[in-house]
C-alpha cells in the first residue's frame, strides 16, 4: 500500500490538501457536522452513519493468561467516506479498514485489512449487531453480548464479551469537543465488558480473561487544522472506576484536553479543557521515533496523580497509518491498568 492511498482515504475527492494526523484535520465540506445536544437512538446508532466522514468501532482489552501474564488486545474497524452517503456495489464511497493487534510483554503483532463498501466484504449492521471486514467479526444478538474474531499472518483470536454496565457518553452528553474552535465528534463507549477467549500466538495458544473497552465515535473533522495528534488514555482503577482522558497536541505546543470520569455504576462526569493533564516522563526509541512510553497523568479534581507506563514500549502499529497503541499499567495515587494510544509522532 503506498502513501498516496493513505492520503486519498481521508481526502475529499476534489483534492483538498490533507491536514493533521491522517488527514483528520481536513475540512469537512459536504459532510454532516456533529451538533451539540445529540439525541442517540439505540440500537440504530450502533450502526454506521454514512453522512459523516470518519467513524470507528474501537475495542481494546487488558487480558491475563492462566499464569498471570498480562496481554493487550485491539480490534478496530474504521469507516472512511470519500463522499457522504451510501451506494450499492463498487460505486460506494465508503472505504472500510481495520487494525488488529496483540501485545505481550515481549511481542507486539499488528495487522490491517482494507475493503470497499457496498459489496458485502465489510460493513456494520445495527440490529442484530454485526461489524465485519473479511473474516474479522464483532457480532452478537445485541450490543451487550458479542463475539470477537480476527486473524493475521502470525496471530489470531477468538473471544466473547459480555457487558456488565451501561453505555457511557463523553463530553456534553456524547458531544465531545476537540478544540477551542469547536471541532467535535459524537462519542460514546461501552467500557464495562468482561472478555474471555483464546489467543493464538506464533508459538502457543493461550486462554485469556480480562476487561475490554469499546469506543464508538463518528465525526467529519475531528481535528482542527492546528492539531498534529493526540494521546488517549483509558484507565481502569482497582476500585471499579474508570477514566477516559485525551489531550490533543497543537502545532503551537499547547494542548487541548478533555476527560470523562466513570464510576463503577456508570455515572459520568465530563471534564473540559484544562482539567486533565498528561505529561511525558520518559521516551523510548520506537520504530526509529522518540515516543513517550511513560506518562504522568493528572486529574486533580479526583485526586488522580499516577505514573502510567507501557507494558511493552515497542507497541508500534507499523501499518499504513502508523501510531502507537498498547496496554499500560499505572501506579501512584491509584493503581490499575488500561490502554494508551498516541498518534502523530513522526
Amino acid at each position: 500500500m503506498n502513501v498516496r492511498l493513505l492520503l486519498c482515504l481521508c481526502l475529499f475527492p476534489f483534492a483538498v490538501m490533507a491536514q493533521g494526523f491522517s488527514g483528520l484535520g481536513t475540512d469537512a465540506e459536504g459532510f454532516a457536522k456533529p451538533r451539540p445536544d445529540p439525541v442517540f437512538r439505540f440500537p440504530a446508532d450502533h450502526g454506521p452513519h454514512p453522512e459523516y466522514r470518519i467513524e470507528w468501532w474501537y475495542l481494546t482489552a487488558n487480558l491475563d493468561g492462566p499464569d498471570g501474564t498480562p496481554y493487550g488486545l485491539q480490534w478496530t474497524l474504521f469507516r472512511s467516506a470519500l463522499a457522504p452517503g451510501e451506494a450499492e456495489g463498487w460505486t460506494s464511497p465508503q472505504i472500510w479498514f481495520a487494525h488488529a493487534a496483540v501485545t505481550t510483554p515481549e511481542q507486539h503483532m499488528a495487522t490491517e485489512r482494507f475493503a470497499r463498501g457496498g459489496i458485502g466484504q465489510a460493513g456494520v449492521e445495527a440490529a442484530p449487531f454485526r461489524a465485519w471486514i473479511d473474516d474479522w467479526t464483532l457480532e452478537g444478538p445485541d450490543f451487550d453480548t458479542l463475539t470477537l474474531r480476527a486473524s493475521g499472518p502470525d496471530f489470531s483470536y477468538d473471544m466473547s464479551l459480555s457487558a456488565e454496565g451501561p453505555l457511557v457518553f463523553h463530553g456534553a452528553e456524547g458531544f465531545s469537543v476537540k478544540s477551542a474552535k469547536g471541532q467535535a465528534s459524537y462519542y460514546y463507549s461501552q467500557p464495562f465488558f468482561r472478555i474471555e477467549g483464546t489467543l493464538r500466538l506464533p508459538e502457543t495458544e493461550v486462554a485469556v480473561t480480562g476487561n475490554a473497552w469499546l469506543d464508538r465515535e463518528w465525526s467529519s473533522q475531528p481535528l482542527a487544522d492546528t492539531q498534529s495528534g493526540w494521546d488517549w488514555f483509558s484507565l481502569a482503577f482497582k476500585d471499579g472506576a474508570k477514566l477516559m482522558g485525551f489531550q490533543l497536541r497543537q502545532t503551537d505546543g499547547s494542548q487541548y484536553s478533555a476527560a470523562t470520569w466513570i464510576t463503577a455504576d456508570g455515572t459520568t462526569t465530563a471534564y473540559r479543557d484544562g482539567a486533565f493533564a498528561a505529561k511525558p516522563l520518559a521516551t523510548s526509541d520506537v520504530a526509529g521515533r522518540a515516543v513517550p512510553t511513560e506518562w504522568r497523568v493528572l486529574l486533580p479534581d479526583r485526586g488522580v496523580d499516577v505514573t502510567v507506563s507501557a507494558l511493552n514500549p515497542q507497541a508500534w502499529m507499523d501499518l499504513t497509518i502508523p501510531y502507537w497503541e498498547g496496554p499500560v499499567r499505572f501506579s501512584g495515587s491509584h493503581e490499575g491498568r488500561g490502554y494508551l494510544e498516541m498518534t502523530g509522532y513522526e
Partner: protein, 792 residues
C-alpha cells in the same frame, strides 16, 4: 602542426569522396541493422516488464474458475469472509483494447498504474469511467472512456477500477482473483470455500518470457550477421584508404610530424567519422525497426499470446549498443593498420603493393584459421547442447567457410589458369587471381549473404511444406464447435450422435507436466485420429492402448524437453504415471501436450465436460444451420476447417516475414560491399591495366572483361555458397530449431529456388561491376599513359 596534419589526412577523403561514402555508408548500414534488431528486442522486453508490473503476471498465484471464465462476485466476498486474502481482477476486450480492472485497496503493492489512486473518483457523482493507459492505447479508446495517459502501463492494456471496468464491459462478475503472498493463519482450504475455483501458480505465467526468448535470440543472431557483413565493408575501406595514404604518411613523417601525433590524429579522424556513420545508422535502424515492429508484434501475439507495443521508443539500450558496436568495429579495423604504420620505416617504398598483397603468408594464415573454426564447429555439433552452443556452431561454420573462400578461389583460379593457353584468357585469370585479396572481403560478404539466404529459405520452405501437411492431418474434422456450459455440451453431443455423425469431443486442461507448461487432452479415440494422425515414433497399437487408458501420446516438444521417448513413462499427475505409446509432431506449438483417453482425463478432473468438439460432415453449412436452430448455439461458436487453417498459416507466414526482410537487406549490403570494393580498387588497378591496354586491348574490351570477371567470381561464390547454405539449413532445422522450439523438421531441397538465388547474386555482382566498368571505359588514355611516365 596538428592542424596541418589533420588537413592533409582529410584531404584524402576530399579527393576520394567515393571511399568516404563507402566507409560511412557501410558502417551506417551495419549499425542500422544491428540497432534495428536490438530496438525490436528492447521494445519487446520493456513490454514484458510492463505487463509484469501492471498486471502482476508471473508474480502472484491466481484463483481461476475450473470451467468457463467468470467468477461470481459473491464468491470473492465469500472467500474474503472466510479469511482468504485475494484481490479481484476483471478482464475483457473493448475497442480492441484489453481492459483490466483491479481493486486498489486489496491489490498487492505496486499493481496497476502509478497514478491509479486518483481512480478513487469512483465516488464522483458523475461517475466518469476513468482508465489508465499509455498514449497509443489512450487514442484507441477515444470516445469510449476517459483515459489518463501513463507511460508505465503495458501496451494494449487499459487499467481501471473494478467497478468502472465492469460497467464498461457490461458485466457484474470477475475474471480471476490474485492470491496475496501473505495469508492469515488458520484459514480453511479452497475446496471447502470455493470448490469451483482452482489455484494457478505464478510459475505458469512466468513461462512467457522463456518461450519468447528463443524468438528474440533468432532476431539478435540475424542482427549480428548483418553487422558482421557491414563490418567487412568497413574493414576493406579502411584498408584501402590506408594503402592509398601510405605515400602521404611517409611524406608527413619525413616532414617531421611525430609518430604519436600522427597516429593520434588518424585515430581521432577515423573515430569521428565512425561516430557520424553510427549516428546515421542508428536513425536508419530506428526506421527499420519501426517498419518491422508491427509484424514482430503480430508474430509474438499469434505464436505465444505475448503482447508487445506496436510503437517504438528511443531506449538507451539499443542506440547506445549500436554506437558502441560501430566504434569498436572501426577500432578493431584500425588497430591493425595503426600497428603497421608504427612499424613502417620512415623511407619505405610506396610502390603500389598490389603484388605484396597476394603474399603466401596470408594464404597460410587464412587456411589455418579456417580449418580451426570449421573443426571447432564440427566438435560443437557433436558435443554441444543448448541454444547458445547451436548459434556459436553456426557462427564458427559461417566464418570458417568465409575465411576458406579466398584460399579456395585462389586454388580454383590457379587450376583454370593452368588450363588456358590463349594469352588474353591467361592474363584474365591471372589478373583475377591477383585481384582476389582486394576483393576477398567483399566476396566473403557475398558468400555469407547468399548462403544465409539459401539456408533460411530452405528452412522456411521445408517448414511450409511440413506444416501444410501437418495442418491437413490435424484439422481433418470439417467443423469445430466450442460450448460454454455442461448443459450445452451434453445437448450438442446428443444431437450430433443422433444425426449419426462422427463426433470428436475434446476435454482439455492446462497443467505443469514434467516441469513444463503443458496441456492435457482427453479424447475419444475414433477412426479420424487413426486414419489421419502420423506419428514420429509409435508402438504398433498406440491408439488401442490410449483408448484402454494404459498409455498416452505426447507431442514432440514435451518429449524432447523432458528427454523422453516411446516406451518411457511420463508423470501426468502426482498419482498418475503412464507409458508413452507414441510421439506426434506438433509444429508451431511452444507448449507440451499429453493426450489420453476421456476416462483417464475424467479421473483427474471429475467435473469436467468437453468444451470443444470436432465434427466430420459432408455438408458443413447445413450442419451449422441445424445446430444453431436445434441445439441453440450461436454462429460464433462454430468455425470451419478452412478458417482455422488460414489463421494458422497466417501466423506462420508472419513469423518469417521478419527474417525474410532481414535476408533481403543483408543481400543488399553484400552487393554494396562488392560495389565499393571494386570502385576503390579501380584506382589501384590502373597500373595493371595500362600495360595490357598499351598492348592493344581496347578499354571497351577491358570493361567487358571486368564484367565477365564479376560474373565469374560471383558464380564461384554461389557454387561455394550452396553447400554452405545447405549445411546452414541442416543446422537450423536439426539443431537450432530443436533447441529453441523442441521439434525437428525434415529438410527438403528446392533446387529451383537456389538457381533463382544464384541468378540474383550474379545480377547483383554485375550491377555492382557496371559502374567501375563504365569508369574504365571513360578513363582518358592520358591517365593510362601516365603510368609509364610517373613510375614512383
Amino acid at each position: 602542426m596538428m592542424r596541418a596534419c589533420l588537413v592533409a589526412l582529410l584531404s584524402h577523403w576530399w579527393r576520394n569522396p567515393l571511399q568516404l561514402f563507402a566507409f560511412l555508408a557501410g558502417l551506417a548500414l551495419a549499425t542500422a541493422l544491428w540497432s534495428g534488431v536490438q530496438a525490436i528486442n528492447a521494445e519487446a522486453r520493456a513490454s514484458y516488464d510492463a505487463a509484469a508490473t501492471t498486471l502482476g503476471e508471473g508474480q502472484y498465484d491466481q484463483l481461476v474458475p475450473r470451467q468457463g471464465n467468470a467468477i461470481a462476485q459473491d464468491v470473492y466476498v465469500g472467500l474474503r469472509r472466510a479469511g482468504w486474502l485475494v484481490s479481484p481482477v476483471i478482464e475483457g476486450r473493448l475497442a480492441d483494447v484489453r481492459l483490466v480492472g483491479i481493486d486498489v485497496l486489496t491489490a498487492p503493492g505496486g499493481l496497476g498504474a502509478a497514478e491509479m489512486d486518483q481512480a478513487m473518483a469512483i465516488a464522483d457523482p458523475e461517475a466518469r469511467a476513468l482508465l489508465f493507459a499509455n498514449a497509443a492505447t489512450a487514442r484507441a479508446l477515444e470516445g469510449v472512456a476517459e483515459v489518463q495517459a501513463d507511460p508505465g502501463v503495458a501496451p494494449g492494456v487499459a487499467v481501471g477500477d473494478v467497478g468502472v471496468v465492469q460497467r464498461l464491459l457490461g458485466r457484474d462478475d470477475l475474471s480471476r482473483l490474485l492470491v496475496l503472498p501473505e495469508q492469515p493463519m488458520g484459514r480453511p482450504d479452497l475446496a471447502s470455500v470455493a470448490p469451483q475455483l482452482r489455484v494457478q501458480s505464478s510459475q505458469q505465467a512466468a513461462d512467457l518470457e522463456q518461450l519468447t526468448d528463443s524468438f528474440h535470440l533468432n532476431l539478435t543472431a540475424f542482427g549480428l550477421l548483418s553487422f558482421a557483413v557491414g563490418l567487412f565493408i568497413v574493414h576493406s575501406t579502411i584498408g584501402l584508404a590506408f594503402e592509398q595514404r601510405r605515400g602521404m604518411i611517409r611524406t608527413l613523417r619525413s616532414l617531421g610530424v611525430p609518430l604519436r601525433l600522427l597516429t593520434g590524429v588518424i585515430i581521432v579522424e577515423m573515430l569521428s567519422l565512425a561516430f557520424i556513420a553510427a549516428a546515421v545508422g542508428i536513425f536508419l535502424g530506428y526506421l527499420i525497426a519501426g517498419l518491422l515492429l508491427p509484424d514482430v508484434a503480430a508474430t509474438l501475439r499469434g505464436l505465444y499470446g505475448a503482447q508487445i507495443s506496436g510503437t517504438l521508443e528511443l531506449r538507451a539500450e539499443w542506440w547506445l549498443s549500436g554506437l558502441l558496436m560501430s566504434l569498436l568495429g572501426t577500432g578493431a579495423a584500425l588497430a591493425g593498420r595503426i600497428w603497421q604504420i608504427r612499424r613502417m620505416p620512415l623511407l619505405a617504398s610506396v610502390r603500389p603493393r598490389a603484388w605484396a598483397m597476394a603474399g603466401a603468408g596470408r594464404v597460410r594464415w587464412l587456411t589455418i584459421a579456417s580449418v580451426l573454426l570449421l573443426g571447432s564447429a564440427a566438435v560443437l555439433g557433436v558435443v554441444g547442447s543448448g541454444l547458445l552452443a547451436a548459434f556459436t556452431l553456426l557462427a564458427f561454420l559461417l566464418v570458417g567457410a568465409a575465411l576458406a573462400l579466398p584460399v579456395l578461389a585462389g586454388v580454383v583460379l590457379g587450376l583454370v589458369q593452368a588450363r588456358t593457353t590463349a594469352p588474353v584468357w591467361n592474363w584474365f585469370w591471372a589478373d583475377t587471381r591477383q585481384q582476389l585479396p582486394g576483393l576477398s572481403l567483399a566476396l566473403m560478404a557475398l558468400l555469407l549473404a547468399v548462403s544465409a539466404n539459401i539456408g533460411v529459405s530452405t528452412m522456411v520452405s521445408s517448414f511450409r511444406l511440413t506444416f501444410t501437411g501437418f495442418l491437413d492431418q490435424r484439422l481433418a474434422p470439417e467443423l469445430f464447435i466450442e460450448v460454454d456450459s455442461a448443459r450445452q455440451s451434453t445437448a450438442l453431443e446428443a444431437y450430433l450422435s443422433d444425426q449419426g455423425l462422427e463426433v470428436l469431443p475434446l476435454l482439455t486442461a492446462s497443467r505443469q507436466i514434467e516441469g513444463q507448461p503443458a496441456r492435457l487432452f482427453g479424447l475419444r479415440v475414433s477412426p479420424t485420429y487413426r486414419d489421419n494422425w502420423v506419428f514420429l515414433a509409435a508402438t504398433p497399437d498406440a491408439w488401442d492402448s490410449v483408448d484402454a487408458g494404459s498409455a498416452v501420446v505426447v507431442n514432440e516438444q514435451l518429449a524432447r524437453r523432458a528427454g523422453l521417448w516411446v516406451g518411457d513413462v511420463v508423470n501426468v499427475a502426482p498419482e498418475l504415471t503412464l507409458p508413452i505409446a507414441a510421439v506426434v509432431g506438433d509444429y508451431g506449438n511452444p507448449k507440451g501436450q499429453v493426450i489420453t483417453s476421456q476416462a483417464v482425463f475424467r479421473d483427474l478432473y471429475p467435473d469436467s465436460y468437453p468444451a470443444q468438439f470436432g465434427v466430420r460432415s459432408d455438408n458443413v453449412p447445413r450442419l451449422r444451420q441445424k445446430i444453431v436452430e436445434e441445439v441453440g448455439l450461436s454462429e460464433n461458436a462454430m468455425t470451419n476447417q478452412a478458417a482455422v487453417k488460414a489463421i494458422s498459416m497466417e501466423v506462420f507466414e508472419r513469423t518469417f516475414t521478419v527474417t525474410q526482410a532481414l535476408n533481403v537487406l543483408t543481400l543488399g549490403v553484400a552487393g554494396f560491399a562488392i560495389l565499393t570494393s571494386l570502385l576503390t580498387l579501380a584506382d589501384l588497378r590502373v597500373p595493371q591495366l595500362a600495360p595490357v591496354w598499351a598492348l592493344g586491348l581496347t578499354r571497351r574490351r577491358l570493361a567487358r572483361l571486368e564484367l565477365l570477371r564479376a560474373v565469374a567470381l560471383s558464380l564461384l561464390v554461389f557454387i561455394c555458397a550452396v553447400p554452405l547454405g545447405l549445411a546452414l539449413a541442416w543446422v537450423l532445422l536439426n539443431i537450432v530449431n530443436v533447441e529453441a522450439f523442441g521439434w525437428r523438421l525434415p529438410m527438403y531441397l528446392f533446387p529451383g529456388d537456389y538457381i533463382v538465388l544464384g541468378g540474383y547474386a550474379i545480377v547483383a555482382a554485375l550491377l555492382a561491376a557496371t559502374w567501375p566498368a563504365l569508369r574504365l571505359v571513360r578513363t582518358p588514355p592520358a591517365t593510362l599513359l601516365k603510368v609509364f611516365a610517373n613510375e614512383r
